[in-house]
Symmetry: C2
Subunit: 352 residues, 2 copies
């Protein structure tokens, strides 16, 4: 497999052109391109530019609305609800993250909700947006049933991700990479099952289940994922997924994972929850972000010569630095797919 | 091992008497007794009345202040900070949970912080208090370093628990048991290591580590715990612990786990974070709590004749119902300890 490398900004502009040609409005196209760029830059390729043709297909078929009438209502002083109106999920998620920060600036904490939305890509994109605005941010989304309950034998929860980011500075106040957790509440993603199939490899223990609800190592036999914690501690992963389902679906009046069509990316009735918190509650925000930096630096000191130790987000900053320098790697198959998409829309490829 | 069974209300009153005799004020004594009763009733014995002699010892030695000057400040419209002043951790945690609910009633979301506090028992007690007040509630606490990082070889995070509760009603609006998640971000508790030692049993895979930072099954060799997710997915448990450390320590201006003395229960510089959210954001609160009930009932239908499936909290309600009927079971050793405590304070045993 050879990779072609394309600068992230060119791919981002390409994504905007493609989505605009597919009929979306500017806000939708730019929001999605920004989220795809975030994921591809940080090495989260499952949620990166790979998804562009998928979204285009859902826009073509009308499963996702091209020009949604996105709107915001603030039912309470510290709450904003974005109605995504069934459009692409990224722009409304960014809008909710920004609204949560704006409300947190005044109130100390802010809640940004998104209802009637579709797949929003990597949850970390929105936690990161809140950290870039100077806030600690939590981002969550529910999704179609794909993960079994603890002791369960049928899919019930979605992979239901949670992301958290906290802005950091070093001891002299210079910008430091933030803490950035972005995790599904299943042990692995569906994407990893597909990859194991392609490579003819076994899966790890306790992460996936067959039709009968038994654990399996065989990717061909997998019909659902297991919650984080596996056979013995899966009640924790399932419990976290339950928390995320209840927050996202109940607060937004959208459907639970088990009520959704599992054609995950096209489902336009999932909900997002964004919580922004001002770090400067007990000290100045400057001091608070230094404390986050102190945590990250102390943690990094646990690395040994043979074994690096990373805080959440650590491996992603390495990817980001490499990819900022070299560009985003496009495997052959993905390049062919993007090229064909470009040709069908009369857009230049490679992006200039 | 024979058990004596004592009604929870008698043990709760006994705990108040003991703590008052140990010199605490009424608010501190009643808060702690309430939290211990919660844990013992729900079967979380590690955090139940077993801890009473431990707290008394810390009060005697002065590590925990008997009559703290607890106070509340509201730095922002949706934030309350309780300064626990180094007293018992339960009353200030309940105060922060109540404050978060009060602020959520007005603002839609409320943040209750606790600084300069000590061990607060089971995190679920405070999430549950928020659910009983009609709110979805998240409760978190940091604690002394006892859990390794992912790929780490030394303790770094505390067991750093997170709890979440959501109030529920059934389809005709009658009260239903809430959803109640209460989990440490390590796979197992230290208590379980001690139990394995006593019983001469091996530990599960991937949950505990020896001095050299290798995984071990031998409880005698354990010097630290591993994060939830174990050898392969422990970056998720460690990431969640990091989120909790950063929220609890930075927002409260208290210490990180690695800065704390690991005599966990006595340390009076941990922080709590309580987030209350009004469930009725996109529909009435009545409808929202029915949706939570619908989630719980649909989940319960996944049980089979041979294998019950529980939502978070499910096994706890069974314990609660049994213990409300039969009383709290006191193993011989605990009964002797409580009896001796009673005798030293001239308090009646068994509690009348």
């Amino acid at each position: 497999m050879t990779n072609k490398f394309v600068p992230v900004e060119k791919l981002r502009a390409f994504a905007v052109s493609v989505l605009r040609k597919a009929g979306t409005d500017v806000v939708s196209a730019e929001g999605s391109a920004r989220a795809l760029a975030h994921a591809s830059l940080l090495g989260v390729d499952s949620h990166g530019f790979r998804l562009l043709p998928v979204y285009v297909e859902f826009l073509r078929t009308g499963l996702i609305k091209r020009t949604p009438a996105m709107n915001r209502q603030d039912p309470k002083p510290a709450v904003a609800i974005i109605d995504a109106d069934g459009g692409l999920g990224h722009a409304p998620a960014y809008a909710a993250a920004a609204a949560a920060c704006e409300l947190a600036r005044t109130n100390g904490i802010g809640l940004g909700l998104v209802k009637r939305t579709s797949h929003f890509g990597a949850a970390g994109a929105y936690a990161m947006a809140m950290a870039e605005a100077g806030f600690m941010g939590i981002a969550m989304c529910n999704s179609g049933a794909l993960v079994a309950l603890f002791d369960g034998t049928k899919p019930f929860h979605g992979t239901d991700p949670i992301a958290f980011a906290a802005p950091a500075t070093n001891s002299v106040g210079a910008k430091h990479n933030p803490f950035l957790l972005d995790m599904a509440t299943s042990s692995i993603s569906w994407n990893r099952v597909s990859l194991a199939k392609t490579l003819g490899r076994q899966l790890p223990f306790d992460v996936a289940m067959n039709q009968a609800g038994g654990f399996t190592l065989d990717p061909e036999a997998v019909t659902m994922l297991a919650p984080l914690g596996g056979r013995e501690f899966g009640y924790k992963g399932a419990g976290l997924a339950g928390m995320i389902e209840l927050l996202c679906a109940v607060l937004n009046g959208t459907r639970f994972g088990f009520e959704l069509d599992t054609t995950v990316h096209a489902d336009v009735d999932v909900g997002n929850v964004m919580i922004a918190i001002s770090p400067g509650q007990s000290m100045s925000s400057e001091m608070a972000t230094k404390r986050v930096g102190h945590y990250l630096q102390t943690l990094a000191n646990h690395s040994t010569a043979t074994k690096p130790v990373f805080a959440a987000g650590g491996p992603q900053w390495i990817s980001r630095d490499e990819r900022m320098a070299k560009g985003i790697p496009l495997p052959d198959a993905l390049e062919r797919e993007l090229q064909s998409l470009a040709r069908s829309m009369s857009i230049d490829w490679p992006p200039s």
